[in-house]
Amino acid sequence: MAVLATNSNTQAAARRVNIWDTPWLNAKFVTGSSIIVLVLLFGLLGPLFWNTDLAFTASSPVNLPPMWDKGGSPEHPLGTESNGRDMLAQLVVGIPASLKVGLLAASIGMGIGILLGSLAGYLGGWTDHIIRTITDSVITIPSLMVLISIAAYVRMPDTTAMALILALFAWPGPTRLIRSQVLTLRERGFVRMALLSNVPALEIMLFEMVPNMLPWLAASLTGGISGAILGATGLEALGLGPTRVPSLGTIINYALNSSALVRGMVWWWLPPIITLVIIFTAFFLMTVGLDEIANPRLRGYGNGK
């Protein structure tokens, strides 16, 4: 009986095979990326529905609770904080700002990592030794020292500059990781095939090796992104952040600086944290999905016993 049932399922699946038969349609990957898209949409479309000027200091009454609480007002549905900023507006502005910093910093770090890691892994020999030594040395230098030194120089960075600064510390990890991956991928058949097809090194790297490193890259990107978002929060605390434009980090910083916790202003500190957790979870889901995509043996993993 059971056999028959599965057979008919199979037949059904077979009919629509071609369009859908791409590894990218992985449930986890799709869920994760949809969440990210939703979060981005919230930031992108938010300004159409909500006045983002309310995200600036002194634009609203102070310390209003969210509208469902006593004393809240529908004009500020998520409440306001002590500097007279509307929470909803801050989230609308802050979420994309943080995501941008996180993504940018992590991808720049990853980019440098890919470049150096592949150079080291690909060329080997002295290049490898030099890159490896430098990477290991840089890992040992406390990032704080560099950050504060930069803080003295770079004034008022916008989110891009901030991402660049964070990227300074985001590359050694990926470099090591990618180096070791390249070392193994270098011997793989499809890389050899690309070599035989006269494909230039850069293209081999980007189009042959990188996709196969995706699970590792994704895991390290996920770590990198949440690391960068948190790092940005720290930088903002150091005074390196763009001060006017709120990000999740600045919201949290201000909340702490104003004792939001002891004042019981949950509507102030909790939303940015929930957002961070959602973003992280989404990227984590994408990582898991990518694992399954790149590793056919994992696909559909969980259905079995």
């Binding site: 059971a2 599965t6 199979t10 037949q11 699946a13 077979a14 449930a27 696909r299 559909g300 079995g304």
Partner: protein, 319 residues
């Protein structure tokens, strides 16, 4: 040599791999038995489900695979759907495995002794000197020096690793050993040494074996009975002599004809056609797309097994 006691029976085994895009039918109504002291060869092209059958017997089909039907009896006991704990007791004690890739089947970072010992101690209360002596004896049985005991896998050659695997498999005197292409990664000289070891162990201990492989030459040398698989289906089973003399199924014939010889040059026998997608098997005979003798009847319903000679069965509409 072989008694008539069936130590292993596989009845109507169906194994599917549930991929997101349809179930791969990797074993379809497979019926097989192994008698005491017998070596059954399981041959077939790559991807036809040999390993799947082997793993099903061990109840270790890897996810997303699942046994969806049938039973597997070891000494009369059905082990399908036995709880994990019970299975652990049966594994290795009754059912041992010589895995497909001996090269990678030993944990590279722990010593041979530990890998051999843990299989034993997981099932038997042997400790200390007795345990060590037992391991020494096993190594000795497969012709390995005692010093292997303290070595790491990377210090051994491929043939030695394979022999370590054999030694591990026979450690508990199992009822049946499943050897999944035990020599396919080895070159001929070493392959022969390993094959000899296997045969030697088998005659001494009288264990039964399933020998998976696709080298018909090696099968001819080693097994008592051959089972031919194609795309998840068993197509022919019979005593080795009978099969080599009289391959009934066109696929079996193809396999035997394709064996290259070093004695005379002959033109290569090339067949056309492709194996179907295992997710989407055709109605009727599984071999219909590649069979030179295909006729309408083949496309209607799967052929039933017919006995052609003593113990020699074939599933083909021709007969």
């Amino acid at each position: 040599m072989a008694s008539d006691q069936k130590v292993l029976e596989v009845n109507d085994l169906n194994v599917h791999y549930f991929t997101p895009r349809g179930a791969v039918i990797a074993a379809n109504a497979v019926n097989l038995y192994v008698k005491e002291g017998e070596i059954v060869g399981l041959v077939g092209e790559s991807g036809c489900g040999k390993t799947t059958v082997a793993m099903s017997i061990l109840q270790m089909v890897s996810a997303p695979g699942r046994i969806v039907g049938g039973e597997i009896k070891i000494e009369g006991q059905n082990i399908v759907n036995l709880p994990e704990k019970e299975l652990r007791k049966i594994r290795w004690r009754k059912l041992a495995l010589i895995p497909q890739g001996a090269m990678n089947s030993l944990n590279p970072v722990i010593k041979i002794r530990e890998q051999m010992e843990d299989g034993i101690t997981a099932h038997e209360k042997v400790r200390g000197v007795a345990l060590r002596d037992k391991v020494f004896k096993l190594l000795n049985d497969v012709g390995l020096p005692e010093r292997v005991y303290n070595m790491f896998p990377h210090e051994l050659s491929g043939g030695m690793k394979q022999r370590v695997c054999i030694a591990m498999a026979v450690a508990l005197n199992p009822v049946i050993i499943i050897a999944d292409e035990p020599t396919s990664a080895l070159d001929v000289v070493v392959q022969r040494v390993v094959a000899q070891t296997l045969l030697d162990v088998k005659t001494r201990l009288g264990v039964s074996m399933i020998m998976i492989g696709h080298d018909m030459g090696l099968q001819a040398q080693m097994v008592d009975r051959v089972a031919v698989m194609y795309a998840g289906n068993l197509v022919e089973v019979g005593p080795v002599g009978s099969i080599f003399e009289h391959p009934y199924h066109p696929y079996t014939r193809l396999l035997i004809d394709a064996i290259p010889s070093t004695k005379q040059k002959k033109s290569l026998k090339v067949t056309e056609g492709l194996t179907h997608d295992l997710r989407n098997p055709p109605r009727g005979c599984c071999f219909q797309f590649r069979c030179p003798f295909v006729r309408d009847a083949c496309r209607e319903k799967p052929p039933a097994f017919k006995q052609m000679a003593p113990d020699h069965f074939v599933a083909c509409v021709q007969y």
